[in-house]
Symmetry: C2
Subunit: 323 residues, 2 copies
């Protein structure tokens, strides 16, 4: 199967690397909005301008779209689904129904399969919420994120006057996790579930107390959380906080007929958020091509993908080796 990458940031690079771990795929190339000659790929993959992608329509089996959810994907995914099987990681939860509808129309028109909102949340976490709620209809589920870097919160700190650079970690509260695991089904406030830890490089002569106050009282981002602010040097930030780790927990606690409690827990601990997301996208790209070959068309999510479609192994081998 020939696979193309549209958009070449952290996620696109992650997809490029993941393809090397999946021998049934051949990387056709990277499509970018930038001037192709200015883009250097990690593995030496060919680079094309995105405007020319339709020239390669018959040579590409699936396109992994690696743009942002705010402005890129709402436009790109429907456009490309009119010509290709595609996969995206659209993650604006509230706008998924709208995005699904637009992509579904395009993919039904072209007779292709378009998997949207793949990754880990939405994605693997969603799957675990679904499976657990089907098995334990009388129960409650909890999603915790972290410990990991929140890009949006880091950006919000960087916009404060006097801040040169910053990194923000979202951290689940251990006591809240334990309460959920105990089967007590606690009601947890925002503050009780997560804390936020900020590593800030202040500009020369900036008022640190003032920056700290502004972070801690920032509405939506920090005001509802217990927030810790550490001022560190530019060198320390580069040395200790250059990674993009993330992860989290999906826990459902439920009760069956005669009053027995059950706890289902799924957790991820990821050294690289974009590389893990990319690996999910590549597995979904395989599923998109194979579902399309089986006659399916239209927009799909992880909920619509029979798990065997994700695997390089045959159904027989899966039953023999993994069931």
């Amino acid at each position: 199967m020939k696979i193309a990458i549209a958009g070449y940031g952290n996620l696109g690079r992650g997809v490029e690397l993941s393809i090397g771990q999946n021998p049934d795929f051949e990387l056709f190339g990277v499509f970018t909005r930038r001037a192709p000659e200015t883009v250097k790929t990690v593995t030496g993959a060919k680079v094309f301008h995105i405007d020319n992608i339709l020239d390669y329509k018959d040579e590409i089996d699936v396109v992994v779209i690696c743009g942002g959810s705010a402005t890129d994907l709402p436009r790109q995914t429907p456009e490309l689904a009119e010509h290709f099987c595609v996969v995206d990681s659209f993650d604006t939860h509230a706008k998924i129904p709208e995005h699904f509808a637009a992509v579904d129309t395009a993919a039904k028109k072209s007779g292709k399969v378009a998997v949207i909102s793949a990754g880990w949340d939405p994605g693997m976490f969603s799957l675990n919420r679904l499976y657990a709620s089907c098995i334990l209809p009388e129960g409650k589920d909890y999603t915790f994120w972290g410990k990991g870097v929140s890009q949006g919160h880091s950006d919000a700190i960087r916009r404060i006057e006097g801040v040169a650079d910053a990194k923000q970690y979202t951290i689940p509260v251990e006591a809240a996790l334990d309460a959920v695991r105990s089967g007590k089904n606690p009601d947890l406030s925002t503050r009780e579930k997560h804390t936020r830890e900020c590593f800030v490089v202040a500009e020369e002569g900036a008022d640190k107390a003032c920056i700290e106050e502004e972070i801690k009282t920032m509405p939506n981002y920090f005001a509802d959380y217990d927030t810790t602010v550490h001022f560190i040097s530019k060198e320390e930030l580069a040395r200790d906080h250059s990674g993009i780790p993330h992860g989290g927990f999906v826990i459902r606690s439920g009760v069956t007929g005669s009053g027995n409690t059950h706890i289902i827990e799924y957790s991820l601990k990821l050294d690289s958020n974009p590389e893990f997301t990319a690996s999910v996208l590549v597995a979904c790209a395989r599923a998109a091509v194979r579902m399309n070959a089986d006659g399916m068309t239209g927009a799909k999510t992880v909920f619509d993908i029979a798990p065997a479609y994700l695997s390089i192994k045959s159904n027989e081998d899966l039953r023999k080796e993994m069931l």
Copy 2:
């Protein structure tokens, strides 16, 4: 949807209770090999003799078969799949391909869907092995069982001379779990992964040292493990060890392109092994009926079920609420 239960032990009772939590199902009745008038159901469900099940062919949408894997299911599932959509929990891993083939032939003949090997292992654990291996092809997975009661091992102790009753717990070794979670991909021996703890009621005057020795050296069951034996009274066994808890962990540790490590962990902590298994079977029964309505036929496993089929919710609601 009308659902029937074939076989009425712990698992059958669990299915009966689970149906009460799933309002899209109506329990048609319980089918048993015993004389129906001697069987009292938990919820007052009607009881029929299994020999008469074909009389109700047009009134039943799906049969959950709750027999044992050793002798019941290899015969019952293909037989019933010739007439009904069915679900079973066949769990003899090595014989799954054979069982699948026999059931597939029967279900293709009748045009029904037969889900085999549903439950938690095989079942939810298998799904997690599959998903994790697709996302992290360069990695290693580990399955740990427990803490929980192993019926087979408990039975093996009960067969020893001088033993009145016994219960055996399989316990994962915390240090092994930690080593796996660290991403080190350790090679673990049988002894390093699990310990076995036995609670034994000895008969009056029995030689306890002799019993303990016989347990600890029993080939296949205990010789390869660090085993602890506690002698307790009949009353203590009834008071402290009457439950059937179980659970375990599926952990995959893998590396992506630029050398980042990722840990995917799924765990279950179950107060009642049969009630949880039953709840998985009922969700799969829903999927069987709906996949059949969509034109599918033949034997299926959890690998073949698109997750949305398991849920009582519409696809639109799932995307809106769970993705």
